[in-house]
């Protein structure tokens, strides 16, 4: 450890002001702070500080996501061999899955971090750790057969247009990882929707439709996978979204560590479940032919990207509502919107992405009214005091 520290100290002057590699200052700082927590001490204000920092926060989110990724890798392999009707072992599944998924992860990180470093350098900022999470999320929300160049393009779009043009980390309006997904969704609709992309190198004869796709084409409910398959994730879909069980486990971890907002997670589920229940009641009355309205309400929570969106996407602290009251409203509306789009919109099978992006845009407005209520309350107190004194 001492040797590494000595080496870092030795090369440090080259990267500081006036040094040979001064233009690489941010990059050096990023690597140095990765290796060592800096020796910077407090000067005024609180003399002691919590050990929690941005690196810890972000690495905890990545840690929560690891089981989802590992399962996703396995499931990509499993679905592939299943479609071909071939018996496969655990290791065959994992190797095939890793072959498909890891390149996407590498491309997402390389492109995203490359751009992040370049922007930090340009602005003379520290490199923010936020992309460690975004870069991990992107592979988990794309179909396993997404071409790598599309991943690269989408990541670049998300970082530059979704984040940096607004001023970088902490300033963005919408969730960067979802921006990447939305870019793919709207830029390459032929390539990345339908029934063929959800299973990597699928056999042609095999259907490969996701439960959401099946419902969109009004297939009977009985043709859906079992609820337990959908809950544990043995279904086709985007790489990380299928296992609701592992997603909830990760969510629980984030709630216990105090990083993820339980208010948002809970209210998204509540909103979605509530509206689905309402559809159950109204369905037979208004649209008996719509099988989507008739599915058990909890199916919505275990199908598609609902759980993943609720736990990892809606909770992004920068693009979500920031006040506690606002978080409830924001979450409920996401759940409601997602189910609304799924059931009533004939074009898109999945509504989660659009629901979150839409509410990202409305989050500042929600906060505005919540804060405004607080201001009004204070003003009222002031006016009451004025009347009392006169």
């Amino acid at each position: 450890m001492n040797a590494i520290r000595k080496f870092v100290d030795k090369i440090k002057p080259d990267f500081q002001k006036g040094g040979r590699f001064q233009y690489l200052h941010s990059t050096f700082d990023a690597f140095e702070t990765f290796l060592f927590v800096p020796d910077k001490t407090t000067t005024n204000g609180s003399h002691i500080r919590d050990y929690m920092d941005m690196k810890r926060t972000m690495s905890m989110v990545v840690l929560a996501l690891v089981p989802t990724l590992l399962f996703g890798i396995w499931n990509v392999g499993y679905q592939h061999y299943l479609s071909h009707g071939v018996e496969s072992t655990l290791w065959q599944n994992v190797i095939f899955g890793a072959w498909k998924v890891l390149p996407i992860l590498v491309v997402s990180y390389a492109v995203g971090l490359g751009i992040e470093f370049a922007f930090a350098q340009m602005r003379g900022h520290e490199v923010n750790e936020g992309f460690l999470v975004s870069g991990f999320l992107i592979p988990l929300i794309v179909p396993p057969d997404t071409p790598l160049w599309m991943v690269a393009l989408a990541t670049a779009f998300a970082v530059v247009i979704g984040k940096e043009v607004f001023g970088g980390t902490g300033m963005n309006i919408v969730n960067p990882a979802l921006t990447a997904r939305a870019f793919l969704f709207f830029a390459y609709p032929q390539d990345l929707s339908g029934d063929k992309v959800w299973i990597a190198e699928k056999a042609d004869a095999y259907s490969g439709a996701t439960p959401l796709g099946q419902l969109l084409t009004n297939e009977p409910i009985t043709s859906l996978p079992s609820a337990s398959d959908m809950f544990f994730g043995f279904i086709p879909g985007s790489i990380g979204e299928t296992s609701t069980f592992l997603i909830l486990l990760g969510g629980l971890f984030l709630i216990l560590t105090g990083i993820g907002s339980w208010r948002i997670m809970l209210s998204v589920f509540a909103g979605g479940f509530g509206l689905a229940l309402l559809f159950n009641v109204l369905g037979p009355l208004v649209a008996p032919e719509n099988s989507y309205m008739a599915i058990p309400a909890y199916y919505h929570l275990i199908m598609g990207g609902f759980a993943f969106g609720a736990v990892y996407m809606a909770t992004d602290p920068v693009s979500a509502a920031q006040t506690n009251t606002g978080k409830w409203i924001y979450g409920l509306l996401i759940g409601v919107m997602a189910v609304l789009i799924r059931v009533l919109n004939p074009a898109y099978p999945e509504g989660m992405m659009l629901a979150i992006l839409l509410m990202n845009v409305f989050a500042p407005l929600i906060d505005h009214y919540v804060v405004e209520a607080n201001i009004k309350k204070r003003l009222k107190r002031f006016q009451k005091a004025q009347i009392a004194t006169t």
Partner: protein
Amino acid sequence: MSETITIKRGLDINLQGEAQQAVNQVESSLYAIKPGDFFGVFPKVLVQEGDKVKAGSLLFFDKYRDYIKLASPVSGTIKEIRRGAKRVLLEIIIEPDANQEYVDFGKEDFRGMSRDAIVLKMLESGVWPMIRQRPYNVIANPADKPKAIFISTFDTSPLAPDFNFITQNQGVVFQTGVDILSRLTSGKIHLNMKRGIATSAIFTKMSGVQFNYFDGPHPAGNVGVQINKIDPINKGEVVWHLRPQEVLTIGRLFTEGRFNAERLIAVTGSEVFKPAYVKTRIGANIREILKDNLKEGKLRFISGNPLTGAKIDRSGFIGFYDSQITVLPEGDYFEMFGWALPGLDKFSYSKTFFSWLHSKKRKYRLDTNMHGGHRALVMTGEMEKVFPFDIYPMQLLKAIMVEDIEAMENLGIYEVDEEDFALVEYIDTSKTEIQTLVRKGLDLMRKEMS
């Protein structure tokens, strides 16, 4: 007895080195008054180096608010008038005499005195600055009519002194102080107590006050929180507040007829061998107080508590309002992969370090490292967990950052002070200097309103 107000959003930080209930007498060889202890004071010095002063002789007054006058806490010789960059007055240092002499302000019975006469006596003796006001946390203006006066009788900050112990056997003086204060306002005197306070405490025997009971973690003892819960400040209103030792000093001015600057100071912190109380005076030099009582290593000396105190050096002076010295280890070291380690010894509000497995009563040795680099404000909902006001802290801070006066006022800046944001600063993942920011906001606001 009124009902208890329970504070839920907060955090107790348990540190090693709490002061034992024993008192050592220490005579420091130097004392000082530091204008920096008072916000917004522009000192005009009345003495020169080499001058003889008594305890209670005036040292300086404020150029713009001439009612603010500061007196010498001891009798002796002005040793040095220390100035810093741009000739800013840092310290007026006094070398004390062996035998203390006091300016005599008379022992006239205050019951027969008018409010003006009482105020005049407090101003001329340099005792007035003991009273501070909210908003802005500056020295009170005697021309104001405060709507109430608040005294917090307990301190919940880390390693805080025990005011029950400090004030013991001084009931008569304390009552005199309270009686004087009640002559200064037509409003109430709020004596804010911790729930379950020992009946031996002198506070329980006071008359002419309203008792309020509080419970819960830090910042339950902060007067700002208490004001917010009992009688929040509206625009244009002023409340005054004092700490128990300041009430004692005011009481002694009237019972003894002199500025008696004696004070019990809690000497605390993990780097002190025997943490205990010392009896000294306002502005004492800490060198003699800490002699032979310090551990090895690079140390941080703080006048006040670890969350809000001022950094002073090894031979620095205790601040005017402080009842505590804290000595902590400096944190100027690199820690390899520190952000990734399990962290059994790393006290954290979050549960991401395994220190949460320990009992809540475990005492920690914390240093002054920032534990991370400065980053963008990303996390939300974090500040609210330790900020028990009906105020949106992040929104208020952002209003200060962009210097939006109207938004600051709307969001409740009159009700807060730096110290109310100390815990917010402590847990902040982005490592922003939040207390400095709050002070900037208060100064801006004060300038705007005057």
